[in-house]
């Protein structure tokens, strides 16, 4: 690697980007190596999104980018300039998905089905579930389990998580 022969020219200059985070438009200056996860947690105090493995293996950092679930830890914020980001803090406010008690239906279903124990993976599980529902490819319990395999729950609440997702899915179908 001959990096020293061709030093980066703008590595120390923050880059201006605009993100709409949970419905709020924000103009931000970010260093290019800032992940979306670190931006949310360290700069914007949106600490609902969790840092688990920081390598895309656990799913705790799952957020929605333009309605699609991704791992925020493997996403550079600068590359998402102009995107709409939804974190667990914003699920309740998703316009078309208002539940009672100001929660998203999937949040209510997680409570109803006791779909967590320690709760660390839960924000990622919730955002991933909403992504799964948006995608519309999973229909059976086996398919839900497969489509949620990017979210690890070390407490082992999987059965109840599948119950909660299935519940909301069936509610959507009714």
């Amino acid at each position: 690697m001959l990096l020293e022969k061709q030093p980066p020219v703008s590595a120390d200059t923050p880059i201006g980007i605009t993100l709409t985070i949970n419905g709020q438009r924000r103009a931000l200056q970010v260093a290019p190596w800032t992940t979306l996860l670190d931006l949310l947690r360290e700069r914007l105090d949106l600490t609902g999104t969790k840092k688990g493995c920081d390598h895309g293996q656990c799913g705790a950092c799952t957020v929605l980018v333009n309605g699609t679930r991704v791992n925020a830890c493997l996403t550079l914020a600068v590359m998402k300039d102009g995107a709409e980001i939804t974190t667990v803090e914003g699920l309740a406010g998703l316009g078309d998905r208002k539940g009672s008690n100001a929660l998203h239906p999937i949040q209510e279903a997680f409570i109803e089905h006791d779909a967590f124990q320690c709760g660390y993976c839960t924000p990622g599980q919730l955002c991933s579930s909403v992504g799964l529902l948006n995608e519309g490819h999973a229909h059976t319990r086996d398919e839900i389990r497969e489509a949620m395999s990017g979210n690890i729950c070390r407490c082992g609440a999987y059965t109840n998580i599948v119950d909660a997702i299935e519940d909301v899915m069936q509610g959507d179908a009714r």
Partner: protein, 335 residues
């Protein structure tokens, strides 16, 4: 992660122009950012190509042209892919997680680096990461490593599932670079480690993948992607089999077979494919082909089990393909 210069390219020409020593193109970033966090990759410049108009999937020359920026999810859930190339769809959906498939690009999938433990561990020698430093996997923990096409410099495997299907489907990779545009047959895209394991592909410096072309569909009925791994989802293959058959009654007209998890590139054996042609689509024929393929396998200290696993997976995969009963995507039990 090291500090780097960031360039957002508006056109392919701009992206190629921005390339230089120590630069990397970035699309989905699911592999590159991970490697940067481990300081396996330390690019001086990232060239963001995600704004290039390369994400379309189009009918092309009787087949399909998949733009290099089409995400893995977009390809897997494309109706034309599902109907004409279900082998590709199944292979994609057998890999990674939904989150990663939503981000990862087609071009990036081809350029994934190996998951060898020692390649990731910067505290250990690795010829792929640091040429000439040695290979820790040879004689080390090598249960996941290659049994075909290894060298005394490197025994790493190529990790992709998608690429195993693309090898069996005989795709073509379209690239653009400082010297212009060219096409690379899929079998010639990835390379064996030999004496230069640091080089995974035959892509020249500064070349960018713009599309992957699929030829006319030949295996919409008789195919399977059978993936065997340590857990049933979200794990790399120990052995995988992409099989496509064209049958004339009970006779094999065409056979295409590629193996994953066993070599530095998707592993094909054209002699075995040719041997199957004109033979009855029976277990005996498939066993003969499997025996021929594994005859050249070379085990390491901990991965000898892969030889018998590969032999059985080939037979099972060809049987699934012949019967038109591909391995289920959600029920992974091997019946």
């Amino acid at each position: 992660m090291n500090r780097f210069d960031y360039v957002r390219a508006g056109t392919v020409a701009e992206a190629v122009q921005a390339f230089g020593v120590g630069a990397r193109f970035i699309a989905g970033g699911t592999n590159l950012i991970d490697l940067m966090k481990y300081e396996v990759e330390k690019p001086g410049r990232l060239i963001d190509i995600t704004r290039l108009p390369l994400d379309r999937i189009e009918d092309h020359a009787g087949g399909l042209r998949i733009g290099a920026l089409a995400t893995n999810a977009k390809v897997a859930y494309d109706d034309r892919v599902a109907e004409r190339y279900p082998l590709l769809r199944n292979a994609i959906l057998a890999g990674a997680s939904a989150q990663l498939r939503n981000a990862a690009s087609t071009g990036g999938n081809l350029l994934q680096r190996t998951r060898c433990y020692y390649f990731y561990d910067v505290a250990t020698p690795c010829n792929k990461r640091e040429p000439g430093s040695g290979c820790t996997a040879i004689g080390g923990m090598n249960r996941i490593h290659a049994i075909f096409g290894t060298s005394d410099k490197c025994i790493a495997t190529h990790p992709s599932d998608m690429c195993i299907a693309l090898a069996a489907l005989e795709a073509t990779v379209q690239v653009s670079g400082p010297q212009g545009e060219r096409s690379i047959p899929f079998a010639e895209f990835h390379r064996l480690p030999g004496d230069t394991p640091e080089t995974d592909t035959n892509l020249a410096p500064g070349e960018i993948i713009v599309a992957v072309d699929l030829p006319e569909s030949r295996f919409p009925q008789h195919f399977t992607y059978l993936k065997l791994r340590d857990r049933l989802s979200y794990a790399f293959a120990l052995v995988s089999v992409a099989a496509g058959l064209e049958l004339d009654g009970d006779t094999v007209k065409t056979a295409r077979l590629a193996l994953g998890g066993v070599a530095h590139k998707p592993w094909r054996n054209r002699e075995a494919e040719a041997m199957l042609e004109g033979k009855p689509a029976t277990r005996e024929s498939f066993q003969a082909a499997a025996d021929l393929i594994v005859a050249e396998a070379k085990p390491q200290s901990e991965n000898g089990f892969k030889i018998d696993l590969a032999r059985r997976a080939i037979v099972r995969g060809l049987e699934q393909a012949a019967a038109g009963t591909p391995q289920s995507l959600s029920d992974k039990r091997i019946q």
